[in-house]
Structure formats: C-alpha cells, structure tokens
C-alpha cells in the first residue's frame, strides 16, 4: 500500500510546499489527495503532507526546482496565496545602451572633498601653531611643520571655499548636492567627536588635578582646550548651520 501511495503522488523534498505542479496550475484544479493508505507508523507524516518512500523502495532522484512557465496565467489556489511576482521591466529603447551603475561623486563633490582635505590639514596646522604659542614655545623645531601645513592648506582651502561658496550663491540647489553633504557631514561628525572627547578629557584633567594625580598647569590645559574647541567647534558650528539652512 505504501508503494501505491508513492506512485500516486510524489512531491520532491526540495520543492516548496506552496508550489503547484504545472499541470495542476493549468487547470486551476488540485486533485484530491490520495486516500490515506498509510502505515500506522507514518501517521504523523500525513499531518505535514510530506512524502517518505518505503524503506524497501529505491530512493527517488532529487527533482530540481521548476519555475512556473511564463504562460501560466490561470491562478491556482496555491499561487493565490503567494506574493505577486514583480512586474517585468520594460525593454529599453533601442538607442539606449545599458550602463553599469557606479557610485561616484558629482564634479562639485570632488571639489568639496579637496576642500575638506585642505580644511582638515589647515586645522591641524592652526591648532598646532596655536598650542605652541599658548604654551610659550615658539621655537623653530616646533613651528616649522605647522607652518608648512598652513602655507599649503590655507591658500588651497581659501580658493576652493570661496569658489564653492560663490557657486552656491549663484545656484542655491548646489547646497543640497549629495556629494557635498556627504563630505560636510563627515566634517561635522569628525569635529563633533573631537569636541566631545576634548570636553571629557578636560573634565578628567580637572578631576585629576583636584586629586593631585595631574601635576601640570591647569591654566595651560584650559588654553589648550580652548584652542581645540575654537578650531574644531568652529568647523562644527559652521557646517551645522550651513546644512540646516540648506534644509
């Protein structure tokens, strides 16, 4: 009896449960399940509608998953429960050549990246030079590298900044350029990170000074923190306002 039931209806194990064979889908009619001629030991299998061949019968080869043919238009009971297939894309016009989609910056966005590099470099030079001065150390060996940074970064940044600012004034939609916003958001996040942890570091230093574990000058620490907050906070303030004005 088991052999008879297996020859009546064989559903491959790798077939999804909602799948209806094409011949059934064509008619829109699902045949009645085979009569329950099952071994008493297989009773629990019936509840899940799974096929288990008899141990003595040879195992059926796995059937590959068959996609429904595109000509199957009549909905069956099973297909009615499945999500609708996505609409077929419209064929492209004959004169359009498909191009791969690559994430690139806009031409203005590249200029914003250049400007951001110059800004970060110049900010490092400015902070270094100011820190040297507020700590009373302005010797050649301390100042020559910050000077090199400033001499290159300040003209480059000034030129790019004024050029992009002019372009934004002429075309206000340029302020919403996605590439620009990505760069300025990076600057905002970086400067926020620096300001945030500088403030925490300042408080930690104050507490260390109170407890006596820090023996340096607190005035110099205050000046150092002010220098860092002036530069990093200035960048954060400017781009924060700029982005919120644009929105």
């Amino acid at each position: 009896m088991d052999n008879e039931s297996s020859s009546d209806y064989q559903e491959p194990e790798n077939r999804p449960s909602h799948f209806t064979p094409p011949e059934e889908a064509d008619t829109g009619f699902s045949p009645a399940p085979p009569p329950p001629h099952h071994h008493p030991h297989e009773h629990h299998h019936d509840e899940h509608h799974e096929f288990h061949p008899h141990p003595s019968s040879p195992p059926a080869p796995p059937t590959p998953f068959l996609e429904p043919l595109p000509t199957h238009t009549a909905p069956s009971h099973d297909f009615a429960q499945a999500p609708p297939p996505p609409p077929a894309p419209a064929p492209p016009p004959a004169n359009v050549i498909p191009q791969p989609v690559v994430r690139v910056l806009s031409p203005r966005g590249v200029e914003y990246v250049f400007m951001a590099i110059a800004l970060v470099t110049g900010a490092i030079g400015l902070v270094s030079a100011l820190l040297a001065i507020v700590n009373g150390n302005h010797s050649f060996s301390v100042l020559y590298f910050p000077l090199a940074l400033l001499l290159v970064a300040v003209p480059v940044f000034s030129g790019l900044f004024l050029r992009l600012k002019q372009a934004e004034l002429l075309d206000p939609s340029a302020r919403l350029d996605a590439s620009k916003r990505r760069t300025t958001q990076f600057l905002q996040i970086s400067s926020f990170f620096i300001c945030f942890f500088t403030l925490i570091g300042f408080l930690a230093t104050v507490f260390a000074k109170v407890s006596g574990t820090y023996t340096g000058s607190l005035v110099k620490v205050v000046l150092d923190v002010l220098v860092i907050l002036l530069v990093a906070g200035g960048i954060l303030y400017y781009y924060w306002n700029d982005e919120h004005k644009a929105n």
């Binding site: 700590n135 000034s158 500088t198």
Partner: protein, 161 residues
C-alpha cells in the same frame, strides 16, 4: 554677492596673517637653528675624537694635541687636571622636546579614557667617563666636566650666558 563673501574673505585673511606671522618667526630663527645644529654636530665629532684620545687615561692639554683642528668658536675645551677636563658648547637657542601633537592627543585620549604614559623614569647615571653631548640644551654656554677615573660621575650641564 561680493558682500556676502566679504565675511569669509576677512576670516581667511586673518588666518593668512597668522600664517605670515608664523612664517616670519620661523625664518628669523632659521639661521640660529642652523648655527646650533652645526655646533651640535661639531661637538659630537669632537667628543668622539676626544673620547678616543682619553682612552689612554690622560686628558689632552688642548684639542689640537688630540689631533682635533678647525674647532668652531662656539666650542671650548679646558683641561683642569691630568684626568679631568671641561667641555663647553654655545647655542643660540634653547632646544625643546615640546610636541603640540602630544598635547592635543593627550587631551582627547584622556577624554576617551586612555591615560597618556608619563616618561618620568629617572636618568640612570652614566658609568662611563666619556664625553656625551646632550641634544637637549639651554640657550648660551652648556658645559660639562669629565673625570676620567670617576666612573660614578654624572655629566652635569652648566649654563653660563
């Protein structure tokens, strides 16, 4: 439009003036730094030759006796006893181990919770009676006394303007 860009031009101009001031400070110190570097290099060369000579156990009467010629005017040698001598080098600027990056880094790292390592290990006294030129120096004359037979002696630095 030019009016709206004016405030940015003014701000960038201030940064430009600051850069110019730093440039002037650096350029004014460039020749003195170069002179000090020459002095330091010459002092190192002389110290090496002097140490080779004093390996025999006696200090030379003069640097020329040790075969050292072309001594710059910023370096002086004076024999005190047969076994001790006095060596000086004059620098125009004070050296520094100041680092702006370490200051900013320390503050931010302290905010993250990473304590900056302190380098407060005491200098171990030199056990060799050799002349060693310290790259850290004051402005003016920096002298040290070398006792060839006092192995526990340190090398103090005197600063006489």
């Amino acid at each position: 439009m030019q009016r709206s860009l004016l405030k940015y031009r003014v701000g960038l101009g201030v940064i430009g003036l600051f850069t110019l001031a730093i440039l002037i400070i650096v350029l004014l110190q460039a020749s003195a730094t170069k002179q000090d570097q020459k002095t330091f290099n010459a002092a190192n060369n002389i110290a090496e030759q002097l140490n080779n000579y004093t390996y025999n156990g006696v200090a030379p009467d003069s640097l020329s006796q040790a075969g050292i010629n072309n001594v710059p005017s910023t370096i002086s040698y004076h024999k005190m006893t047969a076994y001790t001598y006095y060596f000086c080098a004059k620098y125009k600027l004070a050296s520094t181990d100041f680092s702006t990056s370490s200051i900013a880094q320390n503050i931010v790292m302290r905010g993250i919770g990473v304590s900056a390592g302190s380098n407060n290990a005491p200098n171990s006294p030199t056990s060799l009676p050799d002349l060693e030129i310290d790259p850290t120096h004051h402005k003016g004359w920096n002298c040290e006394t070398v006792d060839l037979y006092n192995y526990n002696t340190t090398t103090p630095i005197y600063n006489s303007q």
